[in-house]
C-alpha cells in the first residue's frame, strides 16, 4: 500500500466513521418525525462514504494531493498561534491586543527576513499597528462590534 493510498484510506475511513455516527443517531433518536429528513440524508451519506472508502482501499480514488510532511510542519506554528488566540488570548488579554500579538507573531514566523534584522522588526511593528488601527476603525467605530476586553484591550 503506498503512502498516498494509506492517506486516502485514512481520510475516507474517517468520513465513513462520521457518516456511520450520523446514521446511527438519525435512526435511534426520537421523535422520529424530527429525524425523518436526517434519515433520508444519512442513507445517502453513509452509502457514498462507504463507496468512497472502498475506492480508497482499492486505490481507485486518488483525487487530491494528500498531505505533505514539510507543509504540515510549516502549518503548525501558525495554527498553534490561531488556537492560542481563539481559546485563551482573546478572552484573557482582550480581542484587539490578542489580535495584534497574533498578527505580529504570524508575520514574524513566516517572514523570510532574518530575526536579528532591526529594520524588519520595525516594518513588522508598523504594519501591525496600521492594520490593527484599520480593524479598530472598521469593527469598533463603524460597525460598533462589542469584543471581549479581557485584562487589557
Amino acid at each position: 500500500m503506498t503512502a498516498s493510498r494509506l492517506q486516502h484510506t485514512i481520510s475516507s475511513g474517517a468520513i465513513l466513521f462520521v457518516a456511520a455516527i450520523v446514521t446511527y443517531i438519525s435512526f435511534t433518536q426520537e421523535p422520529a418525525d424530527a429525524f425523518l429528513f436526517p434519515r433520508l440524508i444519512a442513507i445517502f451519506f453513509v452509502s457514498l462514504a462507504a463507496w468512497n472508502f472502498m475506492r480508497a482501499v482499492t486505490g481507485v480514488a486518488k483525487v487530491g494531493v494528500g498531505l505533505d510532511m514539510i507543509e504540515l510542519k510549516n502549518i503548525v506554528p501558525g495554527l498553534v498561534t490561531m488556537l492560542v488566540f481563539i481559546f485563551f488570548a482573546a478572552k484573557m488579554l482582550g480581542f484587539y491586543l490578542a489580535s495584534s500579538i497574533a498578527f505580529m507573531l504570524i508575520f514574524t514566523l513566516y517572514d523570510p527576513a532574518p530575526l536579528n534584522d532591526g529594520k524588519a522588526w520595525m516594518k513588522r511593528l508598523i504594519v501591525t499597528v496600521c492594520f490593527m488601527a484599520v480593524m479598530y476603525c472598521l469593527f469598533a467605530l463603524l460597525l460598533k462590534v462589542q469584543t471581549p476586553s479581557g485584562i487589557l484591550f
Partner: protein
C-alpha cells in the same frame, strides 16, 4: 422594463459609495494571488449586517464583479491568475506584457471584461423575471427537488471526483440539520453547547473559504521567493478603445460562451474562460499566434469570465441554484437578510432585486474606469508579502466570524469548518457543494416536511414526490447531473491511465 424605474436607488449617496468601494476593493483583492472572489465576498458578508439588504447586496455584487476582473491584473503582470476564472487570461496576457504591451493588455482586458459583463447583466435583467414567474408554479415537492438539484449539480460538476462532490453535499446537508428543530421541537446532533444554536452560515462561509487559504499560505513556510512584476509602459486609452471596437469576433465568442456557461449551475468562470479561449482560437484565422501574446485570446477569456457573472445569478435569483461558488456565498448573503430567491424576491422586494441588478450594470462601467487607472497600482499591492496576507486574512476572518453574533461560538465554528475543509481539500473534496448543502438544507427540509404533510392527506409520499411532469423533469435532471459527472469521471480516468501507459 421594470428595472429602469429602480435606477435611482443605485445613485443614492450611501449605495453609490458602497458600489464604488466594493469595486475598487474588489479590484485590489482580485489582483492579489491567493485571495479568491469567493473568499472576498464571504469576508465582506459580516459588514452587510449593518446595511440595508439593498446596500448589502450592492456591496457584495460589486465585489463579485470586480474581483473576477481584478484577477486579470496578476494574471497579466505576474502570470499568477488572481482567480481560477483568469487562468486563460494568463496564456496570452502575460505573453503580451513580456512583449512590452502590458498596458495594452490591461486596457483590453478591462474593456472586454466590461463589455462581456454588461451583456451578461442584460441577460440577467431579461431572463430573471421570466424564470421567476415560472417558479411561481412550484409546490413543496418541486422546491424540495430544486434544492436537491442545486446540491447534486454543483456536487457533480464542481468537483474533481463526483463521489467526493456528492459526499461534500451530504456533509453540508447534515451540518445544516445541526441544532434545534423549531418545527418539531427536537434537538439534533448537538454534541456541544457551541452547536446549540445550529451552524450559522456566515462563520461557516468565512471558515470554509478563508481559513484553507490562510493555512495554504502557512504551508509555504518562510518562503523568500519574490514575485517579479513586469514593467508597464504607457499606452493611449483611445488606441485600446479603437482596437477593442475592431475585435468583434473574439468579443462575441467570449461573451456568448461566457453567458451560456454562466447559466449552467455549478460550472463557473474557470471553465467559461478556458472554453471561450479555445473557441476563439478555433474561429480565428491566426490560430498559431494564440499563446504568444495574441490579443484575441485575452479578449475572449476576459469577456467570457465577466459575461458569466450576470447569468450565474439567473438560476440563483429565480430557483435558489447558484451558478458558481461565489453565487452560493451571495445566496447566503441574501438569506441572512431574510430574503429568499424566486418570485417572492421580485414580487415582495422589487426594490432590493432591481436596485441590486442595476448596480451590477453600473458596477461594470465603474470597474472598467477604475480597473484601467488602478491596474498598475493594484499590481504593486498584489505583490504584498505572503506573511502579511496570511496574518491579515486570519485576523479579518476572526473579527468577521465574531461580529456575526458577538460570540466566540461563531469563531469556534469558523475554525473547525476551516481546518476541516483544508484537510478535505487535500483529498479532493470541494467547499462549494458543502456550502450548497449547508444553505439549501433548511429549504429542502422545510419543503420535505410540508410536502410530507400534504402527501399524508393525499395518496402518500411516493405519488406526491415522484409523479407529475415537473417532479419527473427535476428528478431526471438530478439523475442526469450525476450520470454526466460519473461518465466524465470515467472518461477522464481512462485518459489518465492511457497517458500513464504511454509514459511507462
Amino acid at each position: 422594463m421594470e428595472f429602469l424605474s429602480y435606477f435611482g436607488g443605485v445613485f443614492e449617496p450611501t449605495a453609490f459609495l458602497l458600489l464604488l468601494g466594493g469595486t475598487i476593493g474588489g479590484l485590489i483583492l482580485g489582483a492579489t494571488p491567493g485571495l479568491s472572489p469567493t473568499m472576498a465576498v464571504a469576508l465582506l458578508i459580516p459588514f452587510t449586517f449593518h446595511l440595508s439588504p439593498t446596500q448589502g447586496l450592492i456591496l457584495l455584487g460589486a465585489a463579485y464583479t470586480s474581483t473576477v476582473a481584478g484577477g486579470a491584473v496578476s494574471a497579466i503582470l505576474l502570470k499568477i491568475p488572481g482567480a481560477p476564472a483568469n487562468i486563460a487570461t494568463a496564456l496570452d496576457g502575460n505573453a503580451m506584457a513580456k512583449n512590452g504591451e502590458g498596458a495594452r493588455a490591461l486596457h483590453l482586458s478591462f474593456l472586454s471584461s466590461g463589455i462581456g459583463g454588461v451583456i451578461g447583466v442584460l441577460l440577467l435583467i431579461f431572463l430573471t423575471p421570466v424564470l421567476a414567474k415560472w417558479a411561481l408554479a412550484f409546490g413543496p415537492s418541486h422546491l424540495f427537488w430544486m434544492a436537491i438539484l442545486g446540491v447534486t449539480v454543483i456536487g457533480s460538476l464542481d468537483s474533481k471526483s463526483f463521489v467526493k462532490g456528492l459526499l461534500s453535499g451530504c456533509i453540508g446537508l447534515w451540518l445544516s440539520m445541526i441544532g434545534f428543530d423549531d418545527n418539531l421541537g427536537a434537538q439534533r446532533f448537538i454534541f456541544t453547547d457551541v452547536l446549540a444554536g445550529g451552524i450559522n452560515i456566515i462563520p461557516a462561509l468565512i471558515g470554509l473559504f478563508a481559513i484553507p487559504q490562510v493555512l495554504d499560505m502557512f504551508s509555504k513556510g518562510r518562503d523568500s521567493s519574490v514575485i517579479e512584476a513586469i514593467e508597464v509602459p504607457k499606452q493611449r486609452f483611445m488606441d485600446s478603445l479603437r482596437e477593442i471596437s475592431r475585435s468583434g469576433r473574439a468579443l462575441s465568442v467570449g461573451t456568448f460562451f461566457g453567458s451560456i456557461i454562466g447559466l449552467i449551475p455549478g460550472v463557473g468562470g474557470q471553465i467559461a474562460g478556458l472554453v471561450a479561449y479555445d473557441q476563439a482560437k478555433k474561429f480565428s484565422p491566426d490560430k498559431d499566434k494564440f499563446g504568444t501574446g495574441h490579443p484575441e485570446g485575452l479578449i475572449a477569456a476576459e469577456s467570457a469570465n465577466n459575461a458569466m457573472v450576470g447569468p450565474s445569478l439567473v438560476p440563483l435569483l429565480t430557483l435558489s441554484i447558484p451558478g458558481s461558488p461565489t453565487a452560493a456565498v451571495l445566496l447566503g448573503g441574501l438569506i441572512i437578510h431574510g430574503i429568499f430567491p424566486g418570485s417572492d424576491l421580485f414580487d415582495n422586494h422589487p426594490q432590493v432585486a432591481w436596485t441590486f441588478i442595476n448596480s451590477m450594470l453600473i458596477g461594470q462601467i465603474l470597474m472598467v474606469i477604475f480597473g484601467i487607472y488602478t491596474a498598475t497600482w493594484a499590481a504593486r499591492i498584489a505583490r504584498a508579502p505572503v506573511p502579511i496576507m496570511a496574518a491579515a486574512v486570519m485576523v479579518l476572518a476572526l473579527f468577521g466570524a465574531y461580529s456575526v453574533q458577538s460570540s466566540m461560538n461563531g469563531v469556534y465554528i469558523m475554525l473547525a469548518m476551516g481546518v476541516g475543509m483544508f484537510f478535505l481539500e487535500k483529498f479532493g473534496f470541494s467547499a462549494a457543494p458543502l456550502v450548497l448543502g449547508l444553505i439549501l438544507g433548511p429549504i429542502a427540509e422545510s419543503n420535505f416536511t410540508t410536502g410530507s404533510l400534504i402527501a399524508n392527506a393525499q395518496n402518500g409520499p411516493v405519488e406526491y414526490f415522484m409523479t407529475g411532469t415537473l417532479n419527473i423533469f427535476l428528478i431526471t435532471l438530478v439523475i442526469a447531473s450525476i450520470a454526466y459527472s460519473f461518465w466524465s469521471n470515467m472518461v477522464q480516468g481512462k485518459a489518465v491511465k492511457k497517458a500513464q501507459g504511454a509514459t511507462s
